[in-house]
Symmetry: T
Subunit: 159 residues, 12 copies
Amino acid sequence: MSQPITSTLDTEQQKVAGEALRATVIDLIDLSLIAKQAHWNVIGRNFRSVHLALDELVTAARDFTDAAAERATAVGVSPDGRAETVAKESGAVGFPDGWQQDTDVIDGVVRNLTAVIQRLRERIEATEKADPVTQDLFIGFAARLEQLHWMWQAQVATS
Amino acid sequence: MSQPITSTLDTEQQKVAGEALRATVIDLIDLSLIAKQAHWNVIGRNFRSVHLALDELVTAARDFTDAAAERATAVGVSPDGRAETVAKESGAVGFPDGWQQDTDVIDGVVRNLTAVIQRLRERIEATEKADPVTQDLFIGFAARLEQLHWMWQAQVATS
Amino acid sequence: MSQPITSTLDTEQQKVAGEALRATVIDLIDLSLIAKQAHWNVIGRNFRSVHLALDELVTAARDFTDAAAERATAVGVSPDGRAETVAKESGAVGFPDGWQQDTDVIDGVVRNLTAVIQRLRERIEATEKADPVTQDLFIGFAARLEQLHWMWQAQVATS
Amino acid sequence: MSQPITSTLDTEQQKVAGEALRATVIDLIDLSLIAKQAHWNVIGRNFRSVHLALDELVTAARDFTDAAAERATAVGVSPDGRAETVAKESGAVGFPDGWQQDTDVIDGVVRNLTAVIQRLRERIEATEKADPVTQDLFIGFAARLEQLHWMWQAQVATS
Amino acid sequence: MSQPITSTLDTEQQKVAGEALRATVIDLIDLSLIAKQAHWNVIGRNFRSVHLALDELVTAARDFTDAAAERATAVGVSPDGRAETVAKESGAVGFPDGWQQDTDVIDGVVRNLTAVIQRLRERIEATEKADPVTQDLFIGFAARLEQLHWMWQAQVATS
Amino acid sequence: MSQPITSTLDTEQQKVAGEALRATVIDLIDLSLIAKQAHWNVIGRNFRSVHLALDELVTAARDFTDAAAERATAVGVSPDGRAETVAKESGAVGFPDGWQQDTDVIDGVVRNLTAVIQRLRERIEATEKADPVTQDLFIGFAARLEQLHWMWQAQVATS
Amino acid sequence: MSQPITSTLDTEQQKVAGEALRATVIDLIDLSLIAKQAHWNVIGRNFRSVHLALDELVTAARDFTDAAAERATAVGVSPDGRAETVAKESGAVGFPDGWQQDTDVIDGVVRNLTAVIQRLRERIEATEKADPVTQDLFIGFAARLEQLHWMWQAQVATS
Amino acid sequence: MSQPITSTLDTEQQKVAGEALRATVIDLIDLSLIAKQAHWNVIGRNFRSVHLALDELVTAARDFTDAAAERATAVGVSPDGRAETVAKESGAVGFPDGWQQDTDVIDGVVRNLTAVIQRLRERIEATEKADPVTQDLFIGFAARLEQLHWMWQAQVATS
Amino acid sequence: MSQPITSTLDTEQQKVAGEALRATVIDLIDLSLIAKQAHWNVIGRNFRSVHLALDELVTAARDFTDAAAERATAVGVSPDGRAETVAKESGAVGFPDGWQQDTDVIDGVVRNLTAVIQRLRERIEATEKADPVTQDLFIGFAARLEQLHWMWQAQVATS
Amino acid sequence: MSQPITSTLDTEQQKVAGEALRATVIDLIDLSLIAKQAHWNVIGRNFRSVHLALDELVTAARDFTDAAAERATAVGVSPDGRAETVAKESGAVGFPDGWQQDTDVIDGVVRNLTAVIQRLRERIEATEKADPVTQDLFIGFAARLEQLHWMWQAQVATS
Amino acid sequence: MSQPITSTLDTEQQKVAGEALRATVIDLIDLSLIAKQAHWNVIGRNFRSVHLALDELVTAARDFTDAAAERATAVGVSPDGRAETVAKESGAVGFPDGWQQDTDVIDGVVRNLTAVIQRLRERIEATEKADPVTQDLFIGFAARLEQLHWMWQAQVATS
Amino acid sequence: MSQPITSTLDTEQQKVAGEALRATVIDLIDLSLIAKQAHWNVIGRNFRSVHLALDELVTAARDFTDAAAERATAVGVSPDGRAETVAKESGAVGFPDGWQQDTDVIDGVVRNLTAVIQRLRERIEATEKADPVTQDLFIGFAARLEQLHWMWQAQVATS
């Protein structure tokens, strides 16, 4: 691939940050598609709460996708967010086809969030030396996704 | 698949409308991912115009995806908008990986819009008898996508 | 009744469209009053979700009432939306007096929506030849009411 | 009727406030339906002014209906705002069917406002001891309805 | 004329839709200029109501002009909205020069609306087979213009 | 009076501009009080139009009062807008006590606007040499007040 | 004076409420003119704070003037807010001509507020029996004016 | 304590109103802290509804706190809303430490609201003679808090 | 033509200002129609920039048309903005039919702006003595149109 | 205490972050109560500036409290923000009862801000290894509180 | 320098207007930088008022800079607003380095405003014949800057 | 220079952070002036895109200038953003006088951004130990400036 966009990062830093960002773009697109899938297919007593909360997750996932992809371009790396790439490389755990009971939806969202956050945490460490700007972006994503993780988990928690 | 949501449509009508809607959801998700992919990877003299116009296409594709998916649920059919389904079943023509020259991006967008509109036109005919509410939704999608088709094609047209 | 407002419709078209619109005005006013009645009297664990969702139904019913009534005037037919007329002629199935458990409220809303949508579907067919403008209005009502029907039914659905 | 909602009012206070509120809910729903009926059916030189002013009256009547009904629930009394109840128990003086000349509409609105205000004034006195919170709500309704009464009467007044 | 913009319509469909759209653009521009002319030149007791209502008509006519012209481009047909074309080809009935009494203005607006709606109704039929997207646009125009026709006619109606 | 605020105007210029501004402040306060008086006391068939139009006049008069007074301070001259000063020195023609028929209100407003505009026109000439900034402010006032004068006069005009 | 507007108040009640409201209109107009006068003429170290706070007082005084005047009309009594009437009958203590030191402005505002509030308190008692709606309006005025009184007095207070 | 702010109330009236307001400030701050505590610590199936509803309670409690405290200052009495004062003097019934099940949270909120409303009702009586302005403020608080009490109780009510 | 609206201008001043305003109304309507024509028919690489910039020109032309026409009425002169009058009397240089290359559109816009500005400059001189209010309006038009002229010319300029 | 919410942090990290967050919640609630206390009780020449600036501090303290508490829940730790806990454990230096001179208020705010910032700085260091997400939150708090510290100190600074 | 942008002004007019505009751009950029410098460095009892008022001055200076620069381009003259040009050619009187007492800041602002206004006044005269559009722009700047001059001077004035 | 504002940083930390912030203020002011200079002087086919994009750069540069300067004051260091200081000490590479072709403007912007970002990157490292709050601010600046760098470079990039 040609390198039409230059960066203040050296080649190694660019590689570390670029790979972390490309992988994050893919995870987050998948998360947004899973959340929309759940948003449409949820049924059960808590339909309305779950349906609405899923759109908040979609909004977060979409905003972070765009931020990660445009950070990749800013360090001179082309992001790839096409359906086939997402289908092959996503680190999310997926979601079943068809109508889903609200309790199953909540479990599914918590498991997908856990997987995505875990990978994000690793990238926060990985990019600390390579690029503090990229790291700071990931910290911001983690802050919001961990807040959402609590809110989803709280629905199935018992004291 | 169970049928937890009922509809005033009979089984045949539901089948026709449901299939048309499920396929439309998939085309439109792919269109939105392609437009985002182009939004990030475009380079060249018209970068700014193309970059901004692509986000208008993303907005249209996302809004119509949601409308089509929620119309499917309204007629009792579960939509499937997961990455793997989109990767396998989309009727869009796709988009290459990596940085793309603005002229190539415009060509690619026109070709994808043409493909999606063509399929939508067929579904407008197919749903006329089965469900005028679904047909009216598709007519609205076509109105906007054909407007965008003109705006993109106008950039490469000569009188 | 005198005919102070003229129309491009002929007498027969005006009669078909006018009757369909007058009946729709009545159904929708009753639907809005029933939804408000439920909004105030619901009790139970899902009080908040149901209470809020009912106001969305009220908004839809009121907006459509106004649109149907002003379409009647536009084709030269006087609408009648007074309490006594609504009490006598409404096609909705009604709602009991006093405090109601949330599960009963959901059932009641689904049954009223089903009745109103069924009659609307018949009027979409009836007005196709008489007045495509009126038909298009009814298609728009059905689109939203069938979406709400799914959302209410989803709360009591099991996969 | 069971009493699922408790109140700081004693039984007698609750009875006085509750009855006043239930009757007010009915009067105000009827007022809102009458105002909408007039809004659609008015004709004549002042059509536009009267048509617009009627929607301001609808807004007031609907807002106050909701406030009165939710005050009833707050004191533990279930409100009844269904069409048949309104048709039977409303204290408003009603409105004729069909197209109406603007001058007749103004007279009709003034007479209905006069009737509703008169009953409201009696309830302000009746609830003074029973519940100052309910009384204060009625005072607020009277303030706005008497302002509207002046504005409607001013259109037919001569000095 | 060259055809720089392509369409999914075949040549005959494009011809039918294109002619209907080009003629509609011209009628609506003329309607907007007539409404502005009346907006400035009206005098009489109802000056304020008529002056304000005319700007609502201008807004509708301008919005629909733009929608019709951009629908023409979307089906590959160049619209012509220049003053000389409008002066020659408009189907509106025109408006006299100089100050005009409010009663005459209302009559003139009703007659122009009647003429434009009549032609629009014919085009709704004409485009049904050729292009349902264009037809749906015309149905939307008719819905609003017939509503405005009622509101203007109501000012001179007697029961 | 001391001169705590300095100006780039010389003493003569300051005197001319200052007197014109002080007199304008007084005329405009009186105009705003007259318009409010009419706003409250108007009765008759055009009550609503006149009542609303009077508040537009109040807004203009208040905004211009503030602009004129703060222009006076900007050239180092203290404005005086107290009730007794306005009562003594205003150039407006006044307004009768008590309820007023709408036709009389329109006549009264036209006469007061005529008087205030006439004096403003003289001050536009008087300040041309002394202070173009003050003159430009007066030109802006005249533009709006003459527009309002036309709108009020149009209500009693016949062609 | 004729009585074109009727009221549910009896003659004595109307007289008490009407006189209280007419006098309040006059006090509040004067208060608004005094506050504007001070707004323009204040000088000194606290110019900006005092200048801005005076416009908040103007807003309150103007809003309450309109509310009191329209309450007067609602009970069938014509308000009089003309400059000469205000100059003669106001209960405010007035304000000197010319530039004023900020400390003097604060003292002047406190004294005017004290006078207006004192008279308002008397009218709250006077209207209790005559018209609780008018009394409630006065209570609302007192709440805000006493809050402003504290804020102005706090600027000259020492602990 | 010195009395830097004066009031139109006499010493006894000031004492009654001042004590009622000081105690209300304390109750409402505690209510806002309890609602926030619950907002953070709630878990269970209705997490989202309860979490959101608690912030509406916080908003009400904070707005009323400020209104009560600034009413105290307006009658010349210094309010005390410091943590130690609230901890010692609050009339609310408190809330346990740690995560709480949603059903327990609802019970806790109802009990705290009941306690605060009961004390407010006593103060409405106590201030009737001393200061109708303060009483009117308390009536407004009670109206909203009793509405919230119904909404919370409705979640655990059965018909 | 009768003169139902009076003015403070004398007959000669009214004639000079009135003719300048009537001619300006015609030029600006034509400019707005030309800009819309170009907005729809432009093709080429800069389609998006030119398409968007043309709507800014339309907005300016429409706003100034209304201001000029209402200034004409304010000086007692009836404006004429009908299609046939515009077609006959406009001072703009016109625009060709059919699709237009973006470079040709820019040239066409610059030439039309130049023509309209040139005529406006002459009217600024012509109205200086006759009516400074009208002159000030024209100065405001010239300021914006000359700014737009620069922005359009800058697209074809080379240093 | 049970641990119903899980986290990607290990036990030690959770302990460090959780303790820092719980202590911060307490400090910030106390800071918001102190700022409100000062907001109500300040008197003196700079009353208005200080009164307004204190509400900006309240807003910051409340927003940060919520962010810190929801970060605690996100790492699985229950926050405690009840009045008694705040009274016992806050690290702010407190504020005296009763009316306070503006100069004393400024001193008190600066001292409380200094104490809270000092503790926050220590927690920024303490959480660097344990949880960069929590650390980033604290850095954001410090940025705003140190800005406010400068603004308050600037009021008593001399060069 | 080439002349890529043409103008309706002749060479002499262009020279006069162009020089006045270029010099104004420089003065106003300097004024905006001085105001920001003061905004950051002010200390003393009136810190908050002065700090806020300086940002209003910055806003005015920046808006006028842009308007003057774009007027220069509109008459075909290239503006120069680079730091080195401003440092060399500004007509403002400058501002010292380091923290500044509020009283000194006020004096400094008044002196800079006086210098800039004096030069603007000369340019209003200089451009009267050359270009009334440019003159009108300068009159608008003077109106606002002289208002701000009064507001700043009022803070140090004594009656 | 005296030190009227204190900080929690020690002398060395304050020196490091203070110098970095003072230099950043200067670079960013120069960047904003250069961007404005280019905004006014750009000509060529991409005028509109470049002209608009430059104002986005101005906005970023101005917002960051203010943030950096107020961070300097927050750590007790006086910032210096006067024209002469910027002219002498800026690290940007400058911009030529006179009209500039769009391609040259893009090159110039990219080179200036590169220079400013390079220096910012060094300061991110330099302040890591001295003050994480300042470092975090710089990271935020770099994130946005590097995004803009990509967007500008993309306009001249080829794949």
